[in-house]
Symmetry: D2
């Protein structure tokens, strides 16, 4: 289904007075700032939607009653992301996962996607599951495996994913490895590292010149003793040894308890090795909850480092890093959940853009800690939602995406159209 | 020193237009709510200041250059809290610690305090340190000690603290025990519990009828293997066995990583056994940072449970629980730090007061998880600072306490008056 | 398949000389102790095997290549546990899970089981997954659900499980609830507790007089914000309100990071409310690894409290608590993994039995911490494996269970017999 | 005081029969291994004692009743380490801390130390505390400080420490920085890194050619929001940028919860950047407990990686890494505590030396996870204490150091001689 432009306009019209009131108030508050440029940055900022996050998620204990109307094909997944993008104007890309989304006809898909204003973001390979008919199992790892044939199978899979990506106009490969071990003694850490590096080098050499490789790290799960790309330090080691096209990818849920993620982000930017982001939120582990639902202040602090660090390097916020959601929607409608995530990310970005950098630098140079806190919390405490809404308005999207989604009964229509379908993927 | 009422008025006058603008905007936004009643609750809400938090804090690695002008006596501590209360109108109580603040003349102190509009909040005993001249050491615990004489000394100390409290008009005793062990085998957990219970019972029996005993728990530190009142479950066991005057006290920093403190609060309220709070914030352990400086959303979620649970029991927000800050000011001016903590607490309280309970109940009854999140985040995302400021204004305090504190150069004056003094306490 | 007694004898004969040498050495070392009584306690100690742990486990990211020869039916599961028991003489019970193991003919099953020397341990209900054809989904909880009909369905399921258990001669029901929430605001903690309590009361009232109800707690997963029976304090609250047949069940993996589980065990024993155990090991969360594979010293410390606490209450080690493994075998042959778990548990139990309690009490009474550590570590550092082996020998089982299992090529035979089967369950 | 050789001999004589019995049993068990070479490695292995660990430690809540007889001067500290070394033959080095141990006459100290068979291990600088009379405070960091003068003071202090070390024959500088921040916004992470790197470079350039610089990392404390050398990844970044004399130093207590330290060790060895170790144990944070007192299996797993990784690089176990204890003795006699730590370390080392590497490699190459676990646990479960005792015997030290220490009433004699002295340091 499509959301018609006139449906959006009608919705916006009904909210416009209230929105304008809030926006003017905000503009008055921030009169000393170039608010227009902030809004433009918000318009430009796009967060990719992963194809596997469009259905109801689950845990190892199973998946509960599905939402219904979930996309059955890559085409329907594109349609869903198209719906999101129509609603929020900020989800203009889809990140595909092979083999869950093997494109049969790349040109047709590109046409379909571009009809929704969508691009193909980073491609995701999968060597954390066995595929039917595969010669080798990844039970004991893929790129790290002691068996060269297993490694070869995993390398070839990654190269195949690159090829699909080239055909679709993507320009990045995200490698998330579940490789690791469940018990002390199971593997030799050094050899596992060396095997993984060698495997990554082969994949790297198959990357087009203008592509990036994102090496994602994760502290634990599905391996419960060690992970072979386990933290940012390890990812950075791989990325440095691989070369200038290789970068570290940060997934917010992939850390040990209490990790200071914003510091990691700042250092990776300093090293020129931050590649991209997987947004989600968590309380215990890789809980894959809606971005901003548990620790919204942390999300702001991360964006504070991103904006500061990218500006220091002269980077383009919208283009020079890969932005993607990676969440699991176990108890919410996946599309509503994604709308909430994008909204939370945009708010955090807006807050970071409005931080008074000059005053902050000054407070830091004076070791005026109380003042530094006041400066950060002042933007965080400010209600910037109208700025984000204005960005949507200018992008032709909805002032209140979830309200419109519910008002239009989008989910019911999807169920009517598709039935009680379950999305492919996890 | 004193802050004169005309200094406050002058400060408020200079900010009044801007404040009114924000307040009117807020009132319009929340026109469907009894905002006046919310403001009145904010006016009534008072957070006690601990006498030991008025100086520069430190760690086991030492204390860095002090702030200067720190209070040397109990009278100067009262003066400092008086300054805070004049500035924010919400710090109308001081929580004393024995033996750091032994009152020589209770009546004079009461007069002094009441001159600043201050009451004496919960009294704090100290059996986590040895005192010069004490017959016994608490190296191996106090109320848990295998040696009856040590327990007796600790019991008598607590009873003495109660007596001081009676003289000052306090009505609660906070018992924080560092008791525990550093190594497996050091103590018998059951016997340690039984000794502690028996000791607490003796102290309990010395409590006046209208007093409360707060049994504080802590996961770890200064003992690093076990703590004898280690979590809310243990504290509740003690409080239940002791009787109706005994309650659990929650200190935000005293939990294992990732604990859901708001759920603990809700259950203790359900059981009628929540006694009070020690506010602070933390990232790693009992970091004792400024309230709201690390996890402001968590602080709101806790207040959300407090308001809901107290209302369900028909409790008086301002009177029926003990509210206190317990923080350490290692890198900020202690008075500024306390002003920031109180502000963060008041904002969280205001947010909780504005949660649309009816809509939230409805969303919960419909398992509409996305909606429930929207409801909570809507008040959290709203900028309610003008409500808190208005409460201060009505209380005769400052619209912007830190700005006035800095504008009046209070710290400099304290240094001039007192010198480079170090506060007693930790 | 069966392991024949003569196969075991042949195996034992080949190892006997070496075993005797080690045993005599040990007996000499512990000449001051009643070693015979220790061995007898080891002979008597039985650890139940959960029916769902006989197949290859997985994570939310999938299940890797299976081991093959996994049990397809409840009868084959009993056969597998029979194999284990023949090998180690310490796995004389099976814990069934409904609906994964619905007994069709209880009498036949009892006969089958008793042929292997097996009893039916605690029955496990399942309201953490939806069952095909069920009227209601547990997506938003079962016993906590806001919808009375859902609660009713879950209550009735538990009562049905009790009935199955009665028919099989079990005498306990383990209730593990995944109930909780994934997002702040999703549920009202107090109402969730009250609903859960009311539901448990209905189930409790269906318990035969000589049955126990085990209320299992878990910190997180599959819910990632709150769990309605989230820690021992909550479980104890339920168990206390329910009555004398209700107990807390401790699963080693169900705690927040760094929790002192041995202290929890000691306090629950003190309160007369410890019901039983789920053994496994973990590094990060509920990793469900082989018992003793990550923190063998912690396992010993837990048994140290169990032995001390049960002896203090005059409890029978073998009978008065429920002992069960609850692990997931993702990268090992499940039967080998279970043999390793049982071995680790028996060693920890043996170590705890040999702790010099008198000397330990004395060290504790003298606050001689270094000595207390020496006493505990002395038994932990001692190699007591020959004692455990001797207990097996006397029980007619194998001196080296895994060696015999491998020597007899049991897995190959199971694969030949059953094929590449996948066990039912998680 | 000194322990006379004949006192040791008398003690050993009394235990010799029992020791020989255990040793022969062990030798028979490990007949397939070159046990003599293992014993020789144990003889050669020396663990440095930090000068600040010879007195009673404390926490931020204070220090409890001291042990008495604590060393008041650097000479007495050397005497204490001499006592330890006489007792265990494995503590042949002392690690000094400036300014707590400023040597007045290096030659005399060297003579004194060599009389006890002691060398001077890595020198430790201190910029985590302010020193009386210092021009600048480190309240807001030392090498990271925004103020160049503060950095300069800290750099010069480190260079002075190097000079002291040269005079004493040391060949390494350990730089532990408490630098970091307590609140979001307090510092700019990138600039803090850059300042720190620049400062370290200046210190590095003052290092003699044959010296090493150890860059120690720590996750948190005394800063509670960020630490500027916060994890191994950051330390490795510094060490790599500094050059070939710079290495990472691993302190076991300086990690986030659940970190896999053994994997970190393996990777640092792989990179040729592991410099040394600070041994201790912990349950919650940097608890600084006796090595091996909480997680002895982890200690073994770390040594397992050390032995494997050093052998793979052809490194000399005894000489090519810096081995040091860093613990705090809050509830034990410091000297007994240190004896227990050294014993636990030696046992873990012995266990690692006896791992059947060939079998382990084979199991790893076959992905035989159960077997790999058996191999590791077989040496861990074996009682190798007689090997460590034999190494002591051959070194002329005591078979049972703590028993002799207590038998000779060393502590009483120290108290008699020195009085109720408190050691300098933390």
């Amino acid at each position: 289904m499509n959301i018609e432009q006139n449906q959006i306009e009608k919705h916006n019209d009904s909210l416009l007075t209230s929105h304008q009131r809030k926006l003017s108030f905000l503009k008055e508050d921030w009169a000393h700032v170039d608010v227009e440029s902030v809004i433009q940055k918000l318009v430009d900022f796009q967060i990719a939607i992963p194809s596997w996050a469009l259905g109801t998620g689950g845990t190892r204990f199973g998946r509960f009653a599905i939402t219904g109307g979930e996309p059955r094909t890559i085409e329907e997944k594109i349609e869903d992301v198209g719906l999101l993008h129509a609603l929020n104007g900020a989800s203009g890309a889809i990140s595909l996962h092979i083999p869950w989304d093997i494109p049969q006809n790349a040109e047709e898909l590109k046409t379909l996607a571009s009809g929704y204003g969508l691009k193909f973001d980073a491609m995701n390979s999968n060597t954390f599951q066995d595929q039917a008919g595969a010669a080798h199992s990844y039970k004991f790892g893929s790129l790290q495996n002691v068996n060269k044939d297993v490694r070869k199978q995993a390398i070839e899979h990654n190269i195949e994913v690159i090829k699909h990506g080239i055909a679709l106009g993507s320009d990045a490969l995200t490698v998330w490895l579940a490789d690791g071990s469940c018990f002390p003694g199971q593997l030799n850490f050094r050899k596992a590292f060396e095997n993984t590096l060698e495997s990554l080098q082969e994949i790297y050499s198959a990357l087009p010149e203008d592509w990036k490789m994102f090496v994602e790290y994760k502290a634990f799960e599905p391996n419960f003793y060690s992970t072979t790309v386990g933290d940012w330090g390890q990812s950075l080691l791989y990325a440095s040894k691989l070369g200038k096209k290789a970068y570290t990818l940060v997934d917010l849920g992939h850390h040990l308890p209490n990790a200071n993620i914003e510091q990691i982000v700042a250092l990776l930017l300093m090293e020129g090795k931050l590649g991209g982001f997987h947004f989600n939120d968590s309380k215990y582990g890789d809980d894959d909850l809606t971005a901003g639902s548990i620790k919204p202040y942390q999300l702001f602090l991360i964006f504070n480092e991103l904006v500061e660090g990218m500006d220091a390097k002269g980077m383009n916020h919208a283009k020079d890093l890969g932005w993607m959601i990676d969440a699991s929607h176990n108890v919410k409608d996946p599309l509503e959940d994604l709308l909430q995530s994008v909204e939370a990310i945009m708010i955090a970005y807006a807050q970071a853009l409005l931080v008074d950098r000059k005053a902050l630098n000054e407070a830091q140079n004076n070791n005026d800690v109380a003042k530094a806190q006041e400066i950060l919390q002042n933007t965080f405490r400010s209600d910037l939602r109208a700025l984000v809404a204005e960005a949507r308005l200018r992008a032709g999207a909805a002032l209140s995406p979830i309200a419109l989604y519910r008002g239009l009964e989008v989910r019911n229509k999807l169920v009517n159209h598709r039935g009680n379908t379950v999305a492919t993927g996890l």
